[in-house]
């Protein structure tokens, strides 16, 4: 009984502290090539990487915004963490100009070539070194890889509850209860769990702010901390290429009809044959709710 009482008190103190100090929020971001600027070399059929602009993964900007809004509402600290080569600093600096307080870059040649499993493990190690967090937020997926697997992978590695495709954080209570809305085909789920939690967020959750010129100038003066593999408590066999079970063996360009099909002449027959062709190409012009129902019908 006494022990139980003591435990209760400890928890009470801990949550009380939280209330005073606010939330510790960590946002994981990825630097990606701006796919709208990715060009293909038609002769070699390879990606032209030259001069491709790197940006914060657009989905992650919603994660940053949500983190900043939570901090504005509940107080606390927001940290951005990323894994990648040294030039990811630019993106972390962009995060700073969006309202992030501190940034950490996990950068080491040993991290290179990581698939989603190794990335999740490495990011989780970085988060552990930061002492964990109350809320960890990621974008639902990266624009280059489109896997959406790193979020759950980090969550599993940290051993905390995690929820993908969150479209709204309804409330966070003093006792650490959090209620969120989670997108699903055909609607959304309302889910309740306890902090600490990891969320991946969808675009519906907010409208990210833009960095002001002033904020961009201030962000230039802030320090970005870099950690290599030696700074983290990790098994070297589980990071980078060695730690990645999957390997890409072939990359190719999807066959694309360069010049499209043209319909001319009689409008009615043009439209009819167009609709026939596009349906044969796998496009279904049906209402979104019907399509969503079909997703799990």
């Amino acid at each position: 009984m006494v022990i139980l009482f003591l435990l209760k008190n400890i928890f009470y103190i801990e949550f009380k502290r939280k209330e005073e100090l606010g939330l510790k929020i960590i946002v994981c971001i990825k630097q990606v090539p701006d796919t709208t600027s990715v060009k293909m070399n038609p002769e070699t059929n390879t990606l032209i990487r030259d001069g491709v602009v790197s940006i914060i993964n657009p989905f992650d900007t919603y994660a940053i915004e949500e983190g900043v809004r939570l901090k504005e509402k509940y107080g606390g600290e927001i940290i951005a963490i990323s894994m990648g080569p040294p030039q990811v600093e630019e993106s972390l600096r962009d995060a700073l100009s969006l309202g992030v307080d501190n940034t950490y870059l996990l950068t080491d040649i040993a991290f290179a070539g990581a698939d989603t499993l190794a990335t999740g493990y490495t990011l989780a190690a970085g988060i552990k070194k930061l002492g964990g967090a109350d809320i960890i937020i990621l974008g639902r997926q990266a624009m280059d890889g489109d896997t959406g697997q790193v979020g759950p992978s980090v969550g599993e590695n940290l051993g905390i509850p995690h929820i993908t495709n969150v479209r709204k954080i309804e409330q966070i209570d003093e006792d650490g209860t959090i209620i969120v809305e989670r997108l699903l085909e055909g609607g959304y789920l309302r889910l309740k769990t306890k902090l600490p939690v990891l969320l991946t967020v969808v675009k519906e959750i907010n409208e990210p702010r833009l960095p002001t010129i002033k904020a961009k100038m201030l962000a230039r003066k802030k320090e970005i901390v870099s950690w290599d593999s030696n700074s983290l408590d990790i098994e070297t066999g589980r990071i980078g290429l060695t730690g990645s079970p999957t390997q890409v063996i072939k990359i190719f360009t999807p066959p694309k009809t360069t010049k499209g099909k043209i319909y001319q002449g009689n409008v009615k027959t043009s439209v009819t044959s167009f609709l026939k062709d596009i349906q044969n190409a796998g496009i279904q012009f049906i209402k979104k709710e019907d399509r969503m129902k079909n997703g799990t019908n």
Binding site: S37, G51, R209, L210, P211, I213
Partner: protein
């Protein structure tokens, strides 16, 4: 008589206006080659400000400015929107006596041409037009409601439509790979889509000029300067006034939808500063992004002094373009050392203003051999002494 065959390299604003002007002559058979899409290079990244008065082009070239403005306005009259005109007016700030003088002359010229314009010294009146400005130390401002900016890609496409209607050929996604010569005379070109014979080849390739010229054995005195621009989103998302074309000696701005387009003035670029100028590969330019840190610093400084209200604007987007600038920041027009190889290059930051006059005068020269003062004045000859124009 056989028609004179003219090939134009480059489908930006200069090439398309020239092509249209040539297509007006029955004695000419004109073909235009664009390696990408019409108006997709420097033209696409132009602010399109063709104002009745500002310092971008000296007042002695008033006729060039006026003809440019009227040409686009005529397109608009024929078919509204075909030059993408946005009638916002222009506000030019007088930061010192010299600028003030030039503004006053410009206003006088505009009034003489039948436009309404005035010079304001009352700070309250200036602030009424553009509330976010800090006018400390500002002598006055020139103001007209009659102009604005154009969409230069739209205008280029309109000129292409018009020249096609006149029977000219326009090839897009067609890259000129070789210029064929016989002795010192141009005979034609080779492209990725076949070869063509020409009597005259015109280089209107803007920032690609340096590379195009080498195909004809010329090292043309053109340097790239960076045209970096930010798109600023006002904190309240929407401005509650019409943001005019705003010109300071060191930067200019205009509206772009609900946002503000802002750029460093081209005459502030120093060809000897590696941060500002060099010879770069325009093919590596991306549609957005790529601005340098110094540009942020520059803008921060300018806005802090002149328009502190705009510092709270979000940076919605940005881009980097290359302007093709000769050492005197004026275009190079007409003949070269190579027979039949004609230049319409080096318009730098003024291509949209200058293109209509260049197109008209150069077409006339190609067809009749008659040189206007402009062609005379802006020939390649002026660089012959100082620069080695032969390609290695």
């Amino acid at each position: 008589m056989a028609k004179k065959k003219v090939g134009i390299i480059g489908g930006g604003i200069v090439g398309t206006v020239l092509g249209y002007n040539l297509s007006l002559y029955d004695s000419v058979d004109v073909t235009l080659f664009e390696k990408d899409q019409i108006g997709s290079g420097t033209t696409a990244k132009s602010a399109g400000t063709v104002c009745l008065f500002d310092d971008s082009l000296p007042n002695k070239f008033w006729n060039v400015r006026l003809y440019g403005f009227q040409t686009y306005m005529n397109l608009e009259k024929e078919d509204k929107g075909s030059a993408g005109f946005d009638n916002t007016g222009t506000l030019v700030l007088a930061t010192d006596k010299k600028v003030e003088e030039s503004i006053k002359t410009g206003i006088a010229l505009a009034i003489a041409a039948g436009y309404k314009a005035k010079y304001l010294t009352d700070h309250d009146k200036i602030n009424k037009i553009l509330p976010d400005l800090n006018l400390e130390g500002i002598l006055g401002a020139g103001w007209t409601r009659d102009d604005g900016y154009f969409d230069s890609t739209m205008a280029s496409n309109t000129f292409v439509k018009k020249m096609r209607a006149n029977g000219a050929k326009v090839f897009t996604t067609t890259k000129v790979e070789k210029i064929n010569m016989h002795g010192n005379k141009v005979t034609g070109i080779e492209t990725n889509n076949g070869s063509y014979n020409f009597d005259v080849v015109v280089d209107a390739s803007g920032p690609w000029t340096r590379f195009t010229g080498r195909m004809a054995g010329l090292e043309l005195p053109i340097w790239h300067t960076k045209a970096e621009a930010f798109f600023l989103a006002p904190p309240k998302k929407k401005l509650d006034y019409i943001f005019p074309v705003l010109k300071y000696p060191r930067f200019y701005a205009r509206r772009e939808g609900d946002n503000i387009f802002i750029c460093k003035a081209h005459l502030t670029m120093d060809l000897n500063d590696p941060m500002h100028a060099g010879i770069w590969d325009p093919d590596k330019l991306q549609p957005t992004g790529g601005t340098d840190e110094y540009f942020l610093e520059f803008l921060f400084g300018e806005l802090e002094r002149n328009a502190p209200g705009l510092l709270d604007c979000g940076v919605a987007s940005s881009w980097l373009g290359y302007r093709a600038e000769p050492p005197d920041f004026m275009p190079i027009l007409g003949d070269t050392q190579v027979d039949g190889y004609i230049l319409a290059i080096g318009c730098g930051g003024n291509g949209v203003i200058e293109a209509p006059t260049i197109g008209r005068d150069l077409a006339k020269y190609i067809v009749t051999g008659e040189k206007t003062l402009l062609i005379e004045h802006l020939s390649l000859k002026r660089f012959e002494e100082k620069y080695n124009l032969k390609a290695k």
